[in-house]
Amino acid sequence: MYSEKVMDHFANPRNVGEVPNANAIGEVGNAKCGDIMKVYMRIEDNIIQEVGFKTFGCGAAIATSSISTEMVKGKTIEEALQLSNRAVTEALDGLPQDKIHCSVLAESAIRSAIGDYYKRQGIDPEPILGCAKDCGGGCHHH
């Protein structure tokens, strides 16, 4: 059972689609596992000016994409990196146990986009971000 908040973000997702002149693009998940999140950002002056997403996945995957993009919009990179899957889950008034994975994916998607931004700036993202949470391979339970 999904919360009303999840259903709202699923039915009326915020920030859908690509962002013009995006300078930070991250993609996590894979089709075999049934969810892919792609996040687009335009970062200027260390601030996420614009953010959008494209997601292939279940209701929770779309809802977590929607709310996580909303949560980082207008934030600094450092603030966005603080976003945890827990915060995403809480903002949605909870997720069913078998969908927690979607909030992890949302957090990873944001970090992955920021990692891409660092790379484009000639900065190695590894020391800052560490290994992205998604690098383990294999399908998570969702």
Binding site: M7, F10, A11, P13, V16, G17, E27, A31, K32, C33, G34, D35, I36, M37, K38, K54, T55, F56, G57, C58, G59, A60, A61, I62, D98, K99, C139, H141, H142
Partner: protein, 390 residues
């Protein structure tokens, strides 16, 4: 949106008015225990006898060959566990297919742990098992062949007559899980040489929580639930009289109007299939013709099934999907993977199952609602973007 279209008849059905009406007396003053000797007990006993007769006639069986159970799942469990227990001295080998319902496949996994050996036969791209493959799999120690009559996800109907012939000729018992087929397509256990058959009331507009098992005369099945002497001591427990009566009435009704329903529902299904196949990158799953009248099932590329089901729900349409997210497991449906779908395609599966109460206007409504939903989800899907770019 107040419109509601129920397109999940393969999951369960709305009770037919005749079944409901037949049940009512047994929920009210007809509360006697069928084992009791006084009048209201005898009345209940008579109702059970009548119901057993009705169920038997509906599938070409004899009255004494019908045992009542609590579900299709229970009937399947009883057969598999019972035959294994009874015949383990003769052999420990069972033949089945890759597309069985979990009530069969998980029970067999359990039996494997107890030392039985299971050959799981493959199916073709339509979900059909080949009788030749069945024949080739039979060994001297084979004690049971269990193959479903028709599949619950893709609707494909198996070559049951041919398999029955082979099993009978080779002297191996043949069980079929006919839960999706009974009441929808003609079944005669004598003609089809079926030794054991499972059925479930709620799939043919009877109540949920009642089933039956046909056991051919001469086939010895041990007791499944011990206790009082109900069901000839084979399935003890005071009978669900109202449920059993409802099941029997629903089945009799379904068989009486089968010819007409079959034509009507098939026509609606084919209209739905034709309409769905107009959409880009949508394919039919299961056999195009040899399939249950009510089941229209598809793989829709680049979207995820649960998201589609939720959006259909918001539009007032109840349907289902075999995606991993919908089934609450790690992998998408084993049936869809068995017919050769990739994980990606299987995640985008949808099953729309129709019934006698479905109207042409319902089908039109589904066909009107689905395209914009698919478009919306695809517009959001990075996979669709890749596909279009490619």
């Amino acid at each position: 949106m107040s419109r509601f279209v129920y397109a999940d008849n393969a999951a369960t059905t709305k009770m037919s008015p005749v079944a409901r009406k037949a049940m009512l007396p047994w929920l009210e003053d007809g509360y006697g225990n069928p084992s009791a000797v006084y009048r209201i007990g005898r009345d209940a006993r008579r109702a059970l006898d009548g119901a057993r007769d009705q169920v038997a006639r509906a599938i070409g069986a004899k009255t004494e060959e019908i045992f009542f159970t609590g579900s299709g799942t229970e009937s399947n469990n009883w057969v598999l566990r019972g035959i294994c227990e009874r015949l383990q001295g003769k052999g420990k080998h069972i033949i089945t297919t890759m597309i069985e319902h979990h009530a069969i496949s998980r029970t067999l996994e359990d039996l494997e742990k107890q030392g039985f050996e299971v050959t799981v036969l493959p199916v073709d791209k339509y979900g059909m098992v080949s009788p030749h493959v069945v024949r080739a799999a039979i060994r001297p120690d084979t004690i049971l062949i269990t193959i479903m009559f028709a599949n619950n996800e893709i609707g494909t109907i198996q070559p049951i007559a041919a398999i029955g012939d082979i099993a009978r000729e080779r002297g191996v018992l043949f069980h079929t899980d006919a839960v999706q087929a009974v009441g929808h397509v003609p079944i005669d256990v004598e003609l089809l040489k079926i030794d054991l058959l499972s059925l479930s009331a709620h799939k043919f507009r009877g109540p949920r929580g009642v089933g039956a098992l046909y056991v051919k005369k001469g086939v010895k099945l041990p007791a499944f639930i011990t206790g009082g002497g109900q069901e000839k001591g084979h399935r003890a427990g005071t009978e669900n009289v109202a449920g059993i009566v409802g099941m029997a009435m629903a089945l009799e009704d379904a068989v009486q109007s089968m010819e007409q329903n079959l034509l009507y529902v098939t026509e609606l299904r084919d209209k739905l299939i034709a309409g769905m196949l107009q959409l880009p990158a949508v394919s039919l799953t299961g056999h195009p013709e040899i399939r249950l009248p009510g089941i229209a099932s598809f793989a829709i590329a680049c979207i995820e099934g649960e998201a589609l089901i939720l959006m259909l729900d918001a539009a007032g349409i109840a349907a289902s999907s075999g995606s991993a997210c919908s089934s609450g497991s790690l992998d998408p449906s084993h049936v869809l993977l068995s017919i050769g779908l990739t994980h990606e395609s299987a995640h985008g599966s949808v099953r729309l199952s129709l019934g006698e109460e479905t109207t042409e206007a319902d089908v039109d409504y589904i066909l009107e609602q689905i395209p914009p939903i698919v478009e919306k989800l695809r517009a959001m899907s990075p996979l669709w973007e890749e596909r279009v770019d490619a």
